[in-house]
């Protein structure tokens, strides 16, 4: 690459880097207002309810602790519009299926969390854009 092109190429990369350094302007609401970065949670539970509603979907799971006590957790997910484009419908999240969720708990201490990463118990990611969950299993 000629020197001047290399210079502008670096210039472009630097400019874009500066743009991308800012938090992504993708959130519908402030997640840090709703959820607490100081309360990471790891949940494993069985799906009891799926609400594909805008602006955010919600999945309710029953989490069983070591003593056999069951607690219901609501987990926030992305916009159904985006999920549907990735092939995620209600049928992709059958009631009774087991999910593993890493996220952050609600600030108010209730049993709600943002589902930052959600996988089926066998490791398949639940939401993986461009790859339908049923296809990912093949």
């Amino acid at each position: 690459m000629p020197n001047h092109l290399r210079f502008f190429s670096r210039l472009a990369a630097a400019a874009l880097g500066a743009l991308l350094a800012a938090p992504p302007a993708l959130a519908h609401h402030s997640f840090s207002a709703e959820f607490d970065a100081g309360k990471p949670v790891s949940l494993r539970g069985v799906v009891t309810k799926v609400e594909l509603i805008n602006p955010h979907s919600w999945i309710t799971i029953d989490v069983k602790d070591a003593n056999g006590l069951t607690t219901s957790w609501m987990v926030e997910g992305g916009s159904p519009n985006v999920l549907l484009k990735s092939g995620v419908t209600k049928n992709a999240i059958p009631l009774g299926s087991e999910l593993v969720i890493a996220g952050y708990q609600a600030r108010d201490g209730s049993n709600r969390a943002v589902g930052r990463d959600i996988s089926f118990a066998d490791g398949r990611p639940l939401f993986f854009a461009g790859s339908k969950p049923d296809k990912a299993a093949e």
Partner: protein, 356 residues
């Protein structure tokens, strides 16, 4: 303007562990299904198809997804265009997964790639421009008038301090009332950056996917609504100038703003936005708009976004008062206030409401 259609959707790649949370990574493979539109157009001018009643046909599902910023980054100085190689490099950079540090506010979000929230996971143009703004020629927004800038700062300061006071002080998009990118002018929104256009005799209807308000534009030359009638999306009137649909919008509420303009700089009821839509190819539409608001700027400014055809249907983004998020956000704010009170501090500095 040199453009090529690019399908920048990522392929799923290997998983990577980050802390105790699996982070889906994607390989940087980009599907470049490039069509040399510029060259094709030069050889054979595109003839816009017509609807059954003779209008140029703009109908279909379109996306304005882009990595081109509204304003030209300072690093580009006076360069309006990149080379194609540079534009591809810019796109490649945008394809690199963004990382956040676990336990920080920035990490409290969905894994963007998994959820399909990456801007690069949708079809877009390989656009060589350094900014969407084409006038002023430096690609920058004009400086706001001093009074407007001061007022905007007052508003922004107040919003920052009081947005979580109540449901009514949360912003309009959180409450699912109106999103800033709906415009007019219609702006890219990062995800679900799609719109639908359909035409019927005497009308053109434009629906952005988020939110799905139908902006019905009469083409019969009727006057605008009386000045006292304000609407979230303004009041639009259209006419054809050859193959170009020209839409003029007035009657803004004074509560919305164009994304990318300084925080708190709300379009005033005196604003006028003129949009120009023209078919430039079988799968491309050209969208150009000019914003005038004598209370904000001493000159107009103009920007352009190419639109690319996408597959339908459009799924209705039925957004209802933020559903659970609104209540959760407010209850979170009350917890922060209690924690601050217990520590003898305040979670925010008191800011007086902006003057009306």
């Amino acid at each position: 303007m040199r453009r090529q259609l690019v399908d920048a959707r990522r392929r799923p790649g290997p998983m990577k562990l980050r802390g105790d949370a699996p982070l889906a990574r994607v390989c940087a493979a980009v599907i470049l299904t490039a069509l040399a539109l510029g060259a094709t157009a030069a050889e054979k001018p595109f003839k816009a198809p017509r609807t059954s009643d003779g209008q140029p046909d703009l109908q279909g599902y379109w996306t304005n997804n882009t990595v081109v910023p509204l304003q030209r980054p300072a690093a580009y100085a006076d360069r309006a265009q990149l080379t194609e190689a540079e534009a591809r490099e810019r796109l490649d950079k945008a394809l690199e997964p963004s990382e956040t540090e676990a336990g920080t506010d920035a990490d409290v979000h969905y894994q963007l790639t998994d959820y399909g929230l990456d801007i690069t996971q949708r079809k877009m143009n390989l656009d060589t421009r350094t900014a969407a703004i084409v006038d002023p020629p430096d690609g920058k927004l004009p400086a706001p008038l001093p009074t407007a800038a001061a007022k905007a700062k007052e508003r922004a300061d107040y919003t920052r301090a009081h947005q979580y006071d109540s449901a009514q002080t949360l912003n309009l998009s959180v409450r699912c009332i109106v999103w800033p990118h709906q415009g007019p002018p219609i702006m890219p929104t990062g995800y679900n950056s799609n719109l639908e256009i359909y035409q019927s005799p005497g009308y053109v209807t434009i629906i952005t996917e988020m939110m799905p308000d139908a902006r019905i534009v009469p083409l019969d030359g009727r006057p605008h609504l009386p000045g006292g009638v304000k609407q979230w999306l303004g009041d639009s009137r259209g006419h054809w100038d050859g193959n170009t649909l020209v839409i003029e919008t007035t009657n803004y509420t004074g509560r919305t703003q164009v994304p990318g303009t300084p925080a708190g700089l709300l379009l005033t009821p005196d604003a006028r936005v003129t949009e120009y839509l023209e078919r430039t190819g079988a799968d491309t539409l050209h969208y150009r708009f000019t914003v005038e608001d004598k209370n904000l700027w001493d000159r107009s400014w103009t920007a352009e976004y190419p639109l690319v055809r996408i597959d339908g249907m459009r799924f209705e983004y039925a957004c209802q008062e933020g559903n659970y998020g609104l209540a959760n956000t407010l209850s979170g704010a009350r917890v922060k206030e209690r924690e601050a009170a217990a520590q003898g501090t305040t979670p925010r500095d008191p800011v007086p409401p902006p003057r009306r």
